[in-house]
C-alpha cells in the first residue's frame, strides 16, 4: 500500500514536511512561506542544566511550525499522540492503508538510510510516511534525496523514543484545505510574531538581546571547557549548528529572506523586498561567523583575541537584526 506522493528535499525538516503534506493535498505553498508564516525565525542562547554545554537556537521551539502555519492558512490539520505504541502503529497503518500520507515525529538517530556520522539522537525530526511494503515503511525525508524506507521495529522505536521533545507517537495530516487561504493575513501574523520574539521579549538570552548575549558569552567559553580540544569542538559546533543542522544555511536567515521576498509580493510592499535583501546579506554574514568558528576551531586558534573577534562578528549580527526587525515592525503593523 502506498499513497501517491512527490518527494522533494527541503531546507528544514519541519517546514519541509508541512509543506510537502500541504502541497500533496493541493495547496500551492513554498517551504519559505510555511516557515515565515509560523514566525519561526528566532535566536536563543541556551545554557540550562539539561544541556552538557551552552548552545544556540535559531528558530522557535520544534512543533510550532506544524501547529501555527496550518492554522494561519486555514488548514484543518489532524494531530494525534499515542500513549500505547501498538495503537500508534495501528493508527499509522490504517491511515496509509487508506492512501493518506502521514507526517510523523521521530528520533533522527533511527533514520538508518542517512549516513551514520550524521545521526545523533534528536527527537524532533519530521518525516512523511507514504506507504508500507514488505514490512517496511516507505517514507519521504526532506533531508534525503529520494524516497526511502525503514522497518517496522525501527519506526516504532523512532516514534516512541523518550527524552526531550519525545515524539509520543505524534502523527499529523491535513484534513481540509481552504480554497482561498488569506495569505496576506497569514504573512502579517508571521512577521509580527517574528518581530515580537526577536525584539520585544524581555529575556536577555532570547531574540536580538540573545545574540548580544551570545557575543559576550562565547568569549567566556574557555572557563567552561576542560581543555583546548573541548573548546575547539564547541566552537566548531557553532558552524555545525548554523549550517548543518537543517537550517538551510545562515541559521535559517536565508530561508527567512526568501520568505520576505514572497511576503513583499503578497503584501504588495516593495519596502519588504528591500528588507529581504538585507536579510539575505545577514545570512551571508552569519555564514562568515560559521567559517570563522570552523577555522578557529580546526586550527585550535582560540586565544582571547580570536574569541573577541568572533564575539565582535556575532555582535554585528545583533545590530543588523535589530535594524532589520525594527524596520519590519514598522512596515507590518
Amino acid at each position: 500500500m502506498s499513497a501517491p506522493f512527490t518527494h522533494k528535499m527541503a531546507a528544514h525538516c519541519e517546514s519541509g514536511a508541512v509543506t510537502a503534506l500541504l502541497k500533496n493535498a493541493g495547496m500551492d505553498v513554498t517551504e519559505s512561506l510555511v516557515f515565515g508564516v509560523s514566525g519561526a525565525i528566532f535566536f536563543g542562547y541556551l545554557s540550562v542544566p539539561m544541556l552538557p554545554f551552552p548552545t544556540i537556537a535559531l528558530r522557535n521551539k520544534p512543533g510550532r511550525i506544524r501547529l501555527k502555519t496550518p492554522t494561519r492558512l486555514g488548514v484543518k490539520m489532524h494531530t494525534q499522540n499515542f500513549r500505547d505504541p501498538a495503537a500508534g502503529m495501528r493508527a499509522l497503518d490504517e491511515l496509509i492503508g487508506r492512501g493518506i500520507p502521514v507526517g510523523v515525529q521521530v528520533d533522527y538517530f533511527y533514520m538508518d538510510y542517512l549516513p551514520e556520522y550524521t545521526r545523533a539522537h534528536f527527537n524532533a525530526h519530521y518525516i512523511i510516511v507514504t506507504g508500507k511494503k514488505d514490512g517496511r515503511y516507505q517514507l519521504s525525508d526532506t533531508y534525503f534525496p529520494m524516497l526511502s524506507s525503514i522497518d517496522e521495529a525501527t519506526m516504532r522505536t523512532a516514534r516512541f523514543a523518550r527524552g526531550q521533545f519525545a515524539p509520543k507517537g505524534l502523527l499529523f495530516y491535513p484534513e481540509t484545505i481552504p480554497e482561498r487561504p488569506d495569505l496576506k493575513a497569514a504573512v502579517r501574523k508571521g512577521i509580527k510574531d517574528a518581530v515580537f520574539y526577536m525584539t520585544k521579549v524581555p529575556i536577555p538570552f532570547f531574540g536580538v538581546r540573545g545574540i548580544r548575549f551570545f557575543a559576550r558569552k562565547v568569549q567566556e567559553w574557555p572557563k567552561l571547557t576542560r581543555d583546548i580540544e573541548h573548546l575547539s569542538h564547541e566552537v566548531m559546533m557553532i558552524a555545525v549548528i548554523l549550517e548543518e543542522r537543517g537550517t538551510g544555511g545562515g541559521g535559517f536567515r536565508y530561508l527567512y529572506a526568501t520568505f520576505l521576498q514572497e511576503a513583499a509580493k503578497i503584501l504588495g510592499d516593495a519596502a519588504v523586498a528591500e528588507v529581504a535583501k538585507e536579510m539575505m546579506v545577514n545570512g551571508d554574514r552569519w555564514r562568515d561567523v560559521s567559517i570563522a568558528a570552523a577555522r578557529m576551531g580546526k586550527r585550535r586558534d582560540l586565544g582571547p583575541q580570536k574569541l573577541h573577534e568572533l564575539g565582535e562578528m556575532i555582535l554585528e549580527r545583533a545590530e543588523a537584526e535589530q535594524q532589520i526587525f525594527r524596520r519590519l515592525g514598522a512596515l507590518v503593523k
Binding site: L46, L67, F206
Partner: protein, 91 residues
Amino acid sequence: MTNDAKPLHREIKQLIIDSLKISDVTADDIEDGAPIFGNPKFELDSLDAVELFVALQKRYGVKIDDQNLAKDVLQSVDRIAEFVGSNRTDQ
C-alpha cells in the same frame, strides 16, 4: 477550595495547556501552588516561558517586560492569577 471557586485559576490553567500544547494534561492535573517550570509533569522549558507570557499578554492585556518579573510571575498558577488579577486590562 475547588477549582470551580477560582475561575481565574481554571482559565489560566487552560491557557497554559492550550498555549503550550501540553498533551495528556487537564486543568485538574495542575495544582495551584505547584511549580510550572521544572515540573517533570509538563516538560516545559524557557522557550515555553516566552510563549506563556505572550499568551497572558494577549488574553489579559498584562505586560511582563522585565526578566525578574517574568521569573516571579510564572512560578505557579497562584502567582500568575495574583498578577493577572491586579494588572489585567482586558475588562
